[in-house]
Subunit: 149 residues, 2 copies
């Protein structure tokens, strides 16, 4: 039996809890020719952005820094949380240490160089099944939509 569509307040609470708790996400990016790339990465949600670390030559890093935007999904095709964001280069020490504590992985200890990227949420969508497609936008243009909808 299909569940009733969740109201926006519930979707926002669920999405923020999952963003805070989960470790991995799917990062979609594209090059200037329009070739899509898609790879999973560990992340940390700092309350405004998805924080990522990767080698500077990584195709996702090159794409994100070129385009200035990226689209990220949590795992789960039947409990979708999608974040479109603008890319900022760099993260402060507090953020980096929170990333390490959250992911259990410290890129600073590896042999190679890593860049830190923050994909700052501008649009967040959440839905489970087709009956939740309507009302799936929780944040638009960086602003949370009203909760009494």
């Amino acid at each position: 039996m299909r569940a009733e569509p969740r109201p926006r307040a519930q979707r926002r609470e669920d999405a923020l809890r999952r963003l805070g708790e989960e470790i991995d996400c799917w990062v979609a990016s594209a090059d200037e020719a329009g070739n899509a790339h898609l790879v999973p990465f560990s992340y940390y949600w700092d309350g405004a952005a998805i924080v990522l670390a990767m080698p500077p030559g990584n195709r996702t890093a090159v794409n994100l820094l070129r385009a200035g935007v990226g689209r990220i999904a949590l795992d789960g095709t039947r409990d979708v949380v999608l974040v479109d964001g603008t890319v900022e280069h760099g993260a402060d020490t507090t953020t980096i240490e929170a990333y390490v504590a959250h992911s259990g992985w410290d890129p600073r200890t590896g042999p190679g160089e890593y860049v830190w990227l923050r994909v700052v949420a501008r649009r967040i969508q959440a839905w489970r099944e087709a009956n939740e497609l309507r009302g799936r936008t929780l944040m638009n243009d960086g602003e949370w939509l009203p909760l009494d909808a």
Copy 2:
């Protein structure tokens, strides 16, 4: 405790089983400006291609038909199956009926028009954890790699 890396034969068997059994996938595509798009879709694996159905105006459809390529992942950031493929427009009746039987959803009964797309696998990669990154390519340029590796 981390599992031993699977040999290629095992990864191929696992990937083909999951491609055959699962219902949803993540489809990454991009427009001509290099903006990445990412949405889950139901699919059917016909043995060579991931078969998708979507409205012709859907952003993923427009992107896939323009670019002629797409990148698709099964769900599961810790059990990755990634397919890069070339896009073919249309599917025969046998394929469409297999899609309907597999997904439990018949786009032909909906109110709107649907296009059928086949993303023909040219490259397939599979890995679980970092220790499986080496050897993750199972198919390249449309050819399965030798299994005795």
